[in-house]
Symmetry: none
Subunit: 199 residues, 4 copies
DNA sequence: AATGAATGAGCCTTCATTCAT
DNA sequence: TATGAATGAAGGCTCATTCAT
């Protein structure tokens, strides 16, 4: 997964859209930096300051915090989504593909301070974010899960939504607790899911 | 596990302590109610209002929010802790004991709005709460886990702290998302732990 | 000047008054200790705690903070007042007597954290204190001043009230600023007063 | 010394900065008024109300109370500082210059309710204010003092810092006690200082 | 008479959000 | 469009003071 933003590739095709786009980009870069530092709930002002713009500009581009977060992480979420089919094709087994994808997702969540919490639906003002995550990744996760389950000959007792949200939850607070090993727990959860719940 | 507070059984033995004790109890009841409604981070003022007391009264009894939360849930945590050895003795297998205990714990966490988040160490001002949970329940969970692991002939790849915190995390947001089945995920996590991580 | 309280001399004559008196004494001792530590504006609760009594008891004995402070320092103020005539009689010159007395007073004010501020009349709720200080010490200071002025053959441009309050003010904050030499300034002020203001 | 703010002389050169500058000015004016009424420790809310703005606006402009107070009185402090050399040049004698300057300073302190207290270093949250006063005025006072001392052929027993702080202290409470004549006492203190302490 | 629990006013401070320029 | 000043709700916390027991 590439780093935060890759959109600027290709440079600015037209001067007219260059300005707005540059503004938007500065915002996203700044937000990404602040999110890592202070978490996804960082004060709007802090982001604006980092971007060197007024808060109004942030609100203009991203009326809700969720939309900003979505925009900031869209590329990585996209990369995550795209990695699903690819891993399925490239991996030795569907289970390996699922585990690899999950590891990817965990790394993403854990790296970004406080992002995991966004998988919860009720987090203040993260509606759009939650929806985006679910809409984009549940299907991907679902495919990998179905393949892996078929491979191991088990029926799952929980759906992809639950698995995804479970993973998200397991990653909460991972960055600030050295003793807590979210990655290991997530793989164990996957083990449990693939075992069908019989121990 | 019974509902929030059962201590008042037996009535007030002495008039002298009746007042203070009743006050404290009113606080705990009100706090319990508010916690369910608005979560563990509800404004102090809201709790005070619900209890029909001034904020000062809350601060007098519970200088920090953590202490209040601990007090509110102490009985249930205690019940949870005591259930560990009992279940181990009564259950058909150590695995069954572990699963039963975990179910108990999950029910507790899910029932109380926002309580699960307290298992995280960084939640603003919840140090005492976090410490209490960890100190009291990690050993209990550890015993159950060890017994179950020995029973199934597996070595665990994560310690009791991680299991407990993992369970806590899985329960976050469960109350407000009907589609999310924390209990099932937790049992699957246990399955994974007992499988040693081989699927 | 003796230390804070000397009243208990003579023991308890009667059991009936012994109790109340002991209460009162405990209060005064505790208050004296707290005043040194945290200043004259220390929270009532802190004093009550130190005395091992309830706050209500303090309010019963001393309805206003001023009354408490007056009571605490009454002996020393008294000693100060009594030192005036004595110094006048014993000193080589009236000026020496004045200077010695002033030094005594300064030591008293500086030693007791925050007490100097009480010479101001508007300090929240220190009316009684202010009145007591003024009533008791202005005449004493006045006599010394008059004698000294006569001795040096000058007419004063300010009255004893002003001199007393000026001294009090000069002592404000002396305890917490090592660089500030209240005692020296006070003696210089006396020099000025005795010079009649011609340099 | 002119009244609180004289900076706006010349009107607003550019429309763009008119708004912010007027806001700041309104704040300063309001604060100045409130300071006179309720002292320098007046609640932030009171100042905000007087200015007809929200408290946030105050915090935006002046994160700490000290900064606000400094801003409010900067011009006058500056005027005071600048008056030093001028008086030295214009006055008949260095002593006259010192006395004139001191009178100026006293008038400033006495006029502004509670400002004198700021010369104390421990006043809650007035660090910046104290530092500003000391940094700006001690040198000025020092020069005048040195010149006057040389003029009268005396060595001082206290430094300019002590003199300045002594003056500040003498002015405490002057505004609310008609009987108290801070100005006279200050001149007497100066007399004492110039006399070297020998009466 | 003593107690100390209860009260609640009041202060500070932080931000999300709006809106005139 | 961009700006960022202004707003004010919200929440935390501390005590002085009262009053039932």
């Amino acid at each position: 997964m590439a780093d935060t933003e890759g959109e600027q590739a290709g440079g600015e095709r037209s001067a007219q859209v260059g300005r707005p786009r540059r503004s938007r980009q500065a915002l996203l870069d700044a937000a990404a930096a602040v999110f890592v530092t202070s978490g996804v709930d960082a004060p709007v002002r802090e982001i604006a300051a980092k971007a060197g713009v007024g808060v109004g500009t942030i609100y203009r581009h991203f009326p809700t915090r969720s939309e900003l977060v979505v925009a900031v992480y869209r590329h990585q979420v996209e990369a995550c989504a795209e990695a699903g089919p690819r891993l399925l094709a490239e991996s030795a087994t569907p289970e390996a593909a699922l585990r690899a994808w999950v590891a990817l997702f965990v790394e993403f969540l854990v790296t970004k301070h406080g992002l995991a919490g966004a998988l919860q639906g009720d987090s203040a003002g993260s509606d759009a974010l939650h929806a985006y995550f679910v809409d984009r990744l549940v299907p991907v996760c679902g495919d990998l899960l179905a393949a892996a389950l078929e491979f191991v000959g088990t029926a799952s007792s929980v759906d992809a939504y639950n698995v995804l949200k479970g993973i998200g939850n397991l990653c909460i607070g991972a960055a600030s607790d050295a003793r807590y090993r979210a990655d290991a727990l997530v793989q164990l959860l996957i083990s449990g899911v693939l075992s069908g719940g019989d121990r």
